[in-house]
Structures are given as structure tokens and as C-alpha cells.
């Protein structure tokens, strides 16, 4: 006789999907490519001041806050690349390859499948970023001397994951709607590039910094004048103070800055290039905003992007029909 059907428990189903997805993630060659790029980016971040000091014949000064101030060292490009590689075919790839058929006919709800995939992406990022942060902390200690505030690195870790999840949810939603990894990748790349280029023009040149706060990416750059930062050992004219990014990619470093300087304020400037003049651009003061209000707005924007686009991706999977 056949075995009597036993109720499939939610937890075992969820963990099975996580396992299914994690095994996929860790066997993606693309992921190892991105991790290699990430190590290169972090290494460049670590050695940039060393290289510039050598060029400028200036001594390299110790910096006990280098690791805490640097974030993951990936920057907006790194976050976007990780997001792209981890989820660009997470749902759409299943439709393209036909593996969605056996998956969705198992006694697992589509919501569980979706949540399992999201959680697996989170675990993948957690592992990758932890390794990168440990590398950055060790490298900082070796190059810039003993480091302070290393206990803040977990905040950097989760802040960076949140920033990456903004891009992830957008790419996931496009992939789930189009059922095409290629479309998901192209839309993602187009959006990232477009925002990077347009954002630079709108924020720095046109001075409309507030607009950028509501788009994914690095946002507008402001400067916290009361926070000392170690300037790059090169001759460039930039406003004094620590640089702060208002976009969704800046939350990790902003949180660390806020914990160390709760009353910090950030000045924004319009950048002007004088045609024919020598030297760098000139900066015209626009406005001041507290770091706490920047972080609040960033957090709400990040949450809104993640929730809205994840909901779209979930709904697309939930309603999807598999005809082919």
C-alpha cells in the first residue's frame, strides 16, 4: 500500500528550498568571478593610499579608523555586481531551464519557494561579505596599524547586505516578470549605469541632491565638516570633512559614522567647472542636513525598495503559469 500522505511542514520545506538554492549559488562560476573582483576592489582600497604616497613621496600615516570608515570597500559597483550574480537567474533561470516544473510541483508553496530563495541569497551575501570584511580588517591592521572600532564591522556587514538587497529585489522582480535572466541583467545594468551617470550630473552639477536620495545607488555626496578624515595624498580641491553618501548604497558607512558621531551634520555643494581655468572644480554651498535624518531617509528608502520590488517578484512567481 502507498504511504499515507503526511503534512509537509513549513520549516522542512523552507530549509529544503534554502539548501537547493545555496547549492546552486555556491556552484555558480559567476559568483567566484565576482568574489575575485571584490577581492581586487578591496585590495585596491587597501593599497590606494600606499600607492599614492609613493607617487607623491609622502610618508604613509597610520589610520586606526581605516577599516571602520571604509565599509566593505566594495562601493556601489561591488554591491550591484553581487546582486546581479546572486539573483539574476534565481527565478527567471528556473523558467528558462524548465527546472521550475519539478520544483513547483513539489508540496511546497510558491511563497516558501520565494522566501527560501531570498534567504539563500542573504546567506550567500553574509558569507561573502564576512570574508571580505575580515580580509579588510586584517589588511588595515597590517598597513595602517592597529584598528579601532572593529566591533562596528557587523553593522557594516548588515548595512552592506541591505544596500545589495535593494539591487537584488529590483533584478529579481524584473527576472520574475520577464522570466528572462538576460532581460533582468540588462535592465539591472542599464539602471545602475544610468543612475550612476545621471546621478552624477543631477547631484553634483545641477545641485539637485535631494532627488538622488530616493533612487538606488550611491546618491549625492555631502561632507561632514566636523569629522576628520585622512585626505588622499594628492592635490585635489574638495570640501573639508568626511564624505557621506546619501543613496541606498551608503547606509553601512553612514551608520558607523553616526554611531561614532551622533550629532554630525552634512553639507552639500554644487560643483562648478570653470571652462579654461586651471585646477579642479569649485564648490558652491547648497544646504546642511543632519546625518541622522539622512540615515532615517536612507533606511526608509531601502525598506521601501526591498518591500515593493520583492512583493512584485513574489506576486509574479505566485501568479506565474508554466505553459512551456
Amino acid at each position: 500500500m502507498t504511504k499515507k500522505a503526511t503534512r509537509s511542514t513549513l520549516l522542512s520545506s523552507f530549509l529544503a528550498v534554502v539548501r537547493y538554492e545555496l547549492l546552486w549559488n555556491i556552484r555558480k562560476k559567476k559568483l567566484y568571478g565576482v568574489i575575485t573582483i571584490a577581492f581586487v576592489l578591496v585590495t585596491l582600497t587597501l593599497f590606494l593610499r600606499v600607492i599614492l604616497s609613493n607617487i607623491e613621496n609622502q610618508p604613509l600615516s597610520a589610520n586606526p579608523n581605516f577599516a571602520a570608515d571604509t565599509g566593505t570597500g566594495l562601493g556601489t559597483f561591488g554591491f550591484f555586481l553581487f546582486a546581479l550574480v546572486v539573483v539574476m537567474n534565481s527565478i527567471s533561470g528556473e523558467f528558462e531551464s524548465g527546472t521550475i516544473v519539478p520544483l513547483l510541483t513539489k508540496p511546497v508553496s510558491r511563497t516558501t519557494v520565494f522566501l527560501g530563495k531570498i534567504f539563500a541569497a542573504f546567506v550567500t551575501l553574509l558569507a561573502a561579505y564576512t570574508v571580505l570584511l575580515v580580509y579588510l580588517a586584517l589588511g588595515s591592521s597590517v598597513i595602517y596599524g592597529p584598528q579601532n572600532n572593529l566591533h562596528l564591522l557587523p553593522i557594516v556587514l548588515f548595512g552592506s547586505i541591505a544596500s545589495t538587497f535593494v539591487w537584488m529585489s529590483i533584478i529579481l522582480a524584473v527576472g520574475a516578470l520577464s522570466k528572462s535572466s538576460m532581460v533582468a541583467a540588462l535592465v539591472g545594468i542599464g539602471l545602475w549605469l544610468g543612475l550612476a551617470i545621471v546621478g552624477a550630473v543631477v547631484g553634483a552639477v545641477l545641485g539637485q541632491t535631494w532627488v538622488l536620495a530616493y533612487f538606488p545607488g550611491s546618491g549625492a555626496a555631502g561632507y561632514a565638516p566636523n569629522i576628520n578624515s585622512t585626505p588622499l595624498p594628492i592635490n585635489v580641491t574638495i570640501p573639508a570633512g568626511l564624505q557621506v553618501s546619501t543613496g541606498t548604497d551608503g547606509i553601512a558607512t553612514n551608520l558607523v559614522t553616526y554611531i561614532l558621531h551622533p550629532s554630525a551634520e552634512v553639507n552639500f555643494y554644487k560643483m562648478e567647472f570653470m571652462i579654461g581655468s586651471r585646477g579642479g572644480p569649485t564648490y558652491t554651498f547648497l544646504n546642511t542636513e543632519t546625518l541622522s535624518s539622512i540615515i532615517t531617509r536612507e533606511s526608509i528608502t531601502i525598506a521601501a525598495y526591498i518591500l515593493v520590488f520583492s512583493f512584485i517578484a513574489w506576486l509574479a512567481l505566485k501568479r506565474a503559469q508554466v505553459a512551456e
Binding site: 546552486w24 555558480k28 531551464s97 511546497v108
Partner: protein, 317 residues
């Protein structure tokens, strides 16, 4: 008898194409039910509605009395489904895939350890379970598809073209496997375009074309109901009018035609009446040189049914 599968006026359209048209299907529990039809008849679409991959536009589909429309994991818990030409993640190993699917069925570690080797042995994948699926041949993926459909020892096994891509030996093995799993008490719903496959393993059959069920009954009844008249071709010596008249008087004979010394006798019975015909010829002074019984095979019937349906524009005969 309880219904394992029941559809009432099930309709599914792709744009302007009606793939399944008011299909009424009833599959009794503990039977092997063939779902027979040419390519594009609507078999896979019907199955995809049954397993929750497609939503019907009209009508209802039920599995063991539960409606299947929407995301119903509890219904799927009772089904083992093997898709047509199944595709599995290439980055997983055969064992890993079955193990993960087993976890999705909430099978314990011990259950998985017991069940997986048995299934791998059953489908002939023993020794290859630690290879990546990406290295499997089509036939091996087909076998893996059967294994994952039987993982939870489900009450209902839905197999969509299970022989596709298999070599002749594999096809025979699959047929034996289907017969064996039915003996275990599972209901098997077998979709196929191969008539001989359905004829060999199924107790019941539904023939479908252009989304419409043409006939649904036991294999025996279908053959009996729809087979055309049988003809006896006999070569005799001393063929006379008296002999022909005597043959026409037989109650099961509807027509007798002659050509030289050959007789073509049309019969309206399914019984073997050759002894009575032989006796009548002999008593009428004739001598039989040869005798051939020409009947329609189920294949002829299938072709005839499909052809008839096409002529009638897909209307039920």
C-alpha cells in the same frame, strides 16, 4: 469506486487556441489509466492543470476530491509527477536532488536513506547518483524523473510521456515499472502518444484529440465499442450460389461478397465464429483452401477515431 482525478468541463486556452475544451475526465483510484492522443492533443496541458502549473479558464479539476486550482501544496503531497522530458538543475548531483525533494516532502533523514537507494536501483541509476545531473544523458534524466515521482510513495502517479527519450530496453523497463507501482496500490495516470504502450500497461484509457475526449472506458470496452466490423477472407473450391446463400443465413453474417473463388464475409460479432462458417461451407459442398480473420487493431481504431474527429471538426462522435 473513488475518483483519483476528476475534471468537469475543464477548459484551457492559450490566446485564441483552445488547448483543452470542456474536458470531462474521471480516473478511478487504483487503476492504470492511459491518456492517449497525438502530439498537441492537450494531454500535457491537462496534466499541468492537474499539478497546479496552469490555471483553468473554465471548469473544475479535482484530485481525490480536492480542487487543484491555485497553489495547493497539500494536494501535491499526494501526487508524484513526472513531466514530459523533465529538466533538473544541472549543478546538483542525482542523490542531492532526490534528497532535497525528499526534504520538501518532509521525509525524515532515515526515510530518505532507506528510500533513495531503492529508487536509484529501481530506475537503474545506481552508481551514478554522485554524478552531476548536467552529465546525465536524456534517458538518465528521464529515469531520474521517474525516481523523483515515486519518492514519497504517492497515492497518484502522473507520468507524462515516460518513455520519451528512452531506448527500447528502457521502454520495456518503464512499462514493467508502471505495472509494479500499480501493484503497490498507487493510481497511475499515464499520458502517452504510444498506443501500444497504453494497450500493454493500462486498464483504462481516455483518448483525446484537440482538447476533446473522444472516448473513455476500460481498454476492453473501448476496443469492443469502437472497433469496426471484422472480415473473414476465405478461399474455397466449388463456390456455388447455394453456398453463398447458406452463409448469408448465418445470424452473425451481415454481408458476403465473392470474387473468383474468394469469399469476403463481413461479421457483426466479436466472437470467434470460424468453426460455424467452416461447417456451413463444408455442408454446402465447398472445400476451404485458406481462411484469414481480418480485424481492426486498437491502432486502427485510434487512427480512425482521430480521423473521424478531425472530419467532424473536433466534435465528439
Amino acid at each position: 469506486m473513488n475518483s483519483a482525478i476528476e475534471t468537469v468541463n475543464l477548459t484551457k486556452r492559450y490566446g485564441r487556441l483552445t488547448a483543452v475544451n470542456k474536458l470531462n475526465l474521471n480516473v478511478s483510484a487504483n487503476t492504470i489509466h492511459g491518456f492517449l492522443g497525438p502530439n498537441g492533443a492537450g494531454k500535457t496541458t491537462t496534466i499541468k492543470v492537474l499539478v497546479g502549473l496552469l490555471r483553468p479558464d473554465e471548469g473544475v479539476a479535482r484530485i481525490f476530491g480536492q480542487e487543484v486550482s491555485g497553489d495547493k501544496p497539500d494536494v501535491r503531497l499526494r501526487i508524484g509527477y513526472m513531466p514530459e522530458l523533465p529538466k533538473f538543475p544541472k549543478h546538483l548531483k542525482g542523490w542531492e536532488l532526490l534528497d532535497i525533494y525528499g526534504r520538501m516532502y518532509s521525509m525524515s533523514q532515515q526515510q530518505r536513506r532507506d528510500q533513495l537507494p531503492k529508487l536509484l536501483e529501481l530506475v537503474g541509476l545506481k552508481g551514478r547518483e554522485n554524478d552531476l545531473i548536467g552529465k546525465y544523458s536524456k534517458g538518465m534524466q528521464q529515469r531520474l524523473g521517474i525516481a523523483q515521482a515515486l519518492l514519497n510513495e504517492p497515492e497518484l502517479v502522473i507520468l507524462d510521456e515516460p518513455s520519451l527519450g528512452l531506448d527500447p530496453v528502457g521502454m520495456v523497463e518503464v512499462r514493467e515499472l508502471i505495472t509494479n507501482i500499480a501493484k503497490e496500490g498507487m493510481t497511475v495516470f499515464l499520458s502517452s502518444h504510444l498506443l501500444f504502450e497504453v494497450q500493454q500497461v493500462c486498464s483504462h484509457v481516455t483518448i483525446i484529440n484537440k482538447g476533446v475526449a473522444l472516448v473513455s472506458d476500460t481498454i476492453g470496452n473501448v476496443e469492443h465499442k469502437i472497433r469496426g466490423p471484422t472480415t473473414l477472407q476465405i478461399e474455397v473450391t466449388n463456390l456455388t450460389n447455394v453456398l453463398v446463400e447458406n452463409l448469408k443465413k448465418l445470424p452473425f453474417v451481415t454481408d458476403v461478397k465473392t470474387e473468383d473463388n474468394k469469399l469476403n464475409i463481413t461479421l457483426e460479432t466479436r466472437e470467434d465464429v470460424r468453426p460455424q462458417v467452416s461447417e456451413t461451407i463444408t455442408k454446402s459442398g465447398g472445400t476451404i483452401v485458406s481462411m484469414n480473420l481480418i480485424g481492426q487493431s486498437l491502432e486502427d481504431v485510434f487512427v480512425q477515431l482521430i480521423g473521424k474527429a478531425e472530419e467532424e471538426g473536433g466534435r465528439k462522435p
